[in-house]
Symmetry: C2
Subunit: 403 residues, 2 copies
């Protein structure tokens, strides 16, 4: 008799963004005359840049001609894309990453969860709290997270609180972890670690033989002089894997492309993790659409770089408008400088969901309740800069109603 993976039964019944959507839909149904503005889900809103669209159109046409048709591609990605990534995202910043250390995929969500195939089930994981729910949820499926407690946390997972008192930067945990998830610029707090902070983490990981899973999906939003890659830190190639994505950088949430960097130096008990991941991908994955890889390549073209940068600037202006607007009415707002997220303390000791409901009723703005990202997110909400300028300005106006 076949049996299911019992770990699935450890999930709580509701999923954060599903609950947010359900509540927003319910409100819209009862109040059909009200215009809802969503600053909740972190999805991009600007269309794909012209240079990228041109690349997709050309690649599509190539696929229709016998001379230029392409079937199965290389498991790690096409050379043209690997070269563009290595050159633009690493070598140009003095970081020596070679093409065979890069693996192109359909998304950072896939990569940062599938990567767990490489690790022992007994490894202890540590996550920032609040955190992108996928890190914990993918470990629930494998059994590393443990059992869910009444507050939604899991008993075998090491939570590293990121709160106002520590500038939303985690401290080394009391229990020693094996796998450490670090996400900078951070979703949801918007916090960004500087060079020295990241160096202490690399040194810590090396000292305890832990591995850092570094999620740099929001790297393009860094406006201050901070590391763009964990591999800018000496020693990181011996203890870290980095995830990057075109989703937020170039609006690829509907195009689907990302990549993962596993340095050749990274080993465990003599085994190269790069080789394990190659074997995993060759077994369970067949590469990314040629059309999509040409789209990603175009992100690095002269035109592409400029157009993509313009879009990032647009979102970051939205972020500044939101942050300034909220501070103007006396709310405490964090992030928004190196990330498209603004992390807001709820006023008057409102709970996250309470404040969510209050905002919906009073302003028709949808946000994401902070506790959906972990216990330390209680008493916060997350706003995103991914909207039109018009909606962003109107949202700020509406926020004044809560004064």
């Amino acid at each position: 008799m076949f049996g299911i993976n019992g770990n699935f039964l450890k999930f709580g019944s509701s999923y954060l963004f599903a609950s947010v959507n359900a509540k927003a839909k319910e409100y819209a149904k009862v109040n059909p005359d009200k215009k809802i503005i969503s600053l909740g889900i972190g999805d991009v809103t600007l269309p794909i840049a012209p240079a990228i669209v041109d690349a997709m159109v050309n690649a599509s046409k190539e696929m229709g001609q016998a001379e230029t048709f392409r079937g199965y591609g290389p498991y790690q990605g096409y050379d043209f894309l690997l070269k563009a990534i290595a050159e633009n995202d690493y070598r140009s910043r003095g970081v020596d990453i070679s093409e065979d250390e890069i693996f192109v995929s359909d998304g950072a969500k896939s990569d940062c969860s599938n990567i767990l195939d490489l690790f022992s089930i007994d490894n202890k994981i540590a996550v920032q709290d609040p955190v992108y729910p996928v890190y914990v949820d993918s470990n629930v499926i494998d059994g590393r997270a443990g059992r869910q407690r009444p507050d939604g946390s899991y008993n075998k997972t090491i939570y590293m609180p990121c709160v106002e008192e520590n500038n939303f930067l985690p401290k080394f945990p009391e229990r020693q972890p094996d796998i450490i998830y670090l996400n900078f610029p951070n979703n949801p707090t918007g916090a960004m670690a500087d060079y020295n902070t990241l160096k202490t983490w690399v040194d810590y990981a090396l000292s305890i033989d832990a591995i850092i899973l570094y999620d740099g999906a929001y790297e393009a939003f860094i406006s201050e002089d901070k590391p763009k890659s964990i591999f800018e830190i000496p020693g990181a190639k011996k203890c870290a894997i980095e995830f990057r994505s075109f989703s937020k950088t170039a609006g690829f949430t509907g195009i689907r492309c990302a990549y993962t960097v596993i340095p050749n130096e990274l080993r465990a008990s003599g085994t190269q993790l790069n080789k394990l991941w190659y074997r995993r991908q060759a077994t369970k994955f067949n590469g990314v659409s040629y059309v999509v890889q040409r789209a990603a390549e175009a992100v690095y073209s002269e035109q592409g770089k400029k157009q993509v940068k313009d879009n990032i600037n647009y979102y970051m202006e939205n972020a500044a408008i939101i942050k300034k607007g909220l501070e103007g009415i006396g709310l405490k707002a964090f992030g928004g400088v190196n990330a498209p997220y603004i992390w807001v303390k709820t006023p008057n000791d409102f709970g996250s969901w309470e404040f969510f409901d209050y905002l919906m009723r009073k302003t028709q703005i949808v946000v994401t309740p902070g506790e959906g990202f972990g216990p330390a997110g209680r008493g916060y909400i997350r706003l995103t800069a991914f909207n039109t300028r018009e909606n962003t300005l109107e949202a700020v106006e509406r926020f004044k109603r809560i004064k």
Copy 2:
């Protein structure tokens, strides 16, 4: 200290197709004047049909306009594609599959390996032998396959020999399995099961509470009156998951799109597997590129259907040419009628790899050695119909040299 998943160390050192490629490259290097014809790797060669290219071009342009831009799509796939699949691949054949039972993905290889996330590590797997290596390899990673024996097989895996004596159709195994992989039309033997054969398997699975993972990736090549889907068999919705792909049907090996059907009726200990897979996909996957989903939709358009059918016919004519040619020189050739693969018994008790080397030297034709697909593949080679007519005809001519 972090540890790796030790199951990776259970893999043999070489991967079938990598070894085939390495040998072909080596030969080409030493013999630069010889023209090699590859009938080895099962990759398509005809370009993408015009109706599908048009759909991709249009979708790419849509992504560049604010009014038609799309970000994250639904986890299961867009309604337009789910409807096209349900209507054309199921309802039109009298099989009642609803849209919420279909999950669109980037490939059947991803699906048939990722699906294992849903099952207990203790489940015993049974595979046809010879078989598509991914079924076993993905179970090696999870630990279900067991340890590798000297002949390349794994000790906890139940192999069901498919040989000339049983018309390449497996018998019920002696040891009782929990998860049964069935692949029809079969890769590599080209065998196709009829209605009654599939019915015995569904009845068997129901009687022992096993689940059938049915890989129908080559369904489009069925030319005889055989079931196109396992769900044409009564009771299959209670014991089977089906994998389908656009890779071979419409030449999507470089475009990347497939789908998996998990009926709502399919349960284990009261839990709906459809809901588990939704949770798995929502956690570890972010859907397929919008452009690719529009391409897949176009496969079902009036023009698309005709163009795709023409390509299938072209490949199947190649298959017939190869089969007839080989039989003409006294070789035993199977398959090629409902599948793009021809399974050939090596003459004179040649081993698979011996015959591979002999063919390379004598004819410069690259094939796939049968034992790469499992112990029962020893003494066979696999040829594919995926080539130009010209190369196919030349290959048949060259085969005459081995008389």
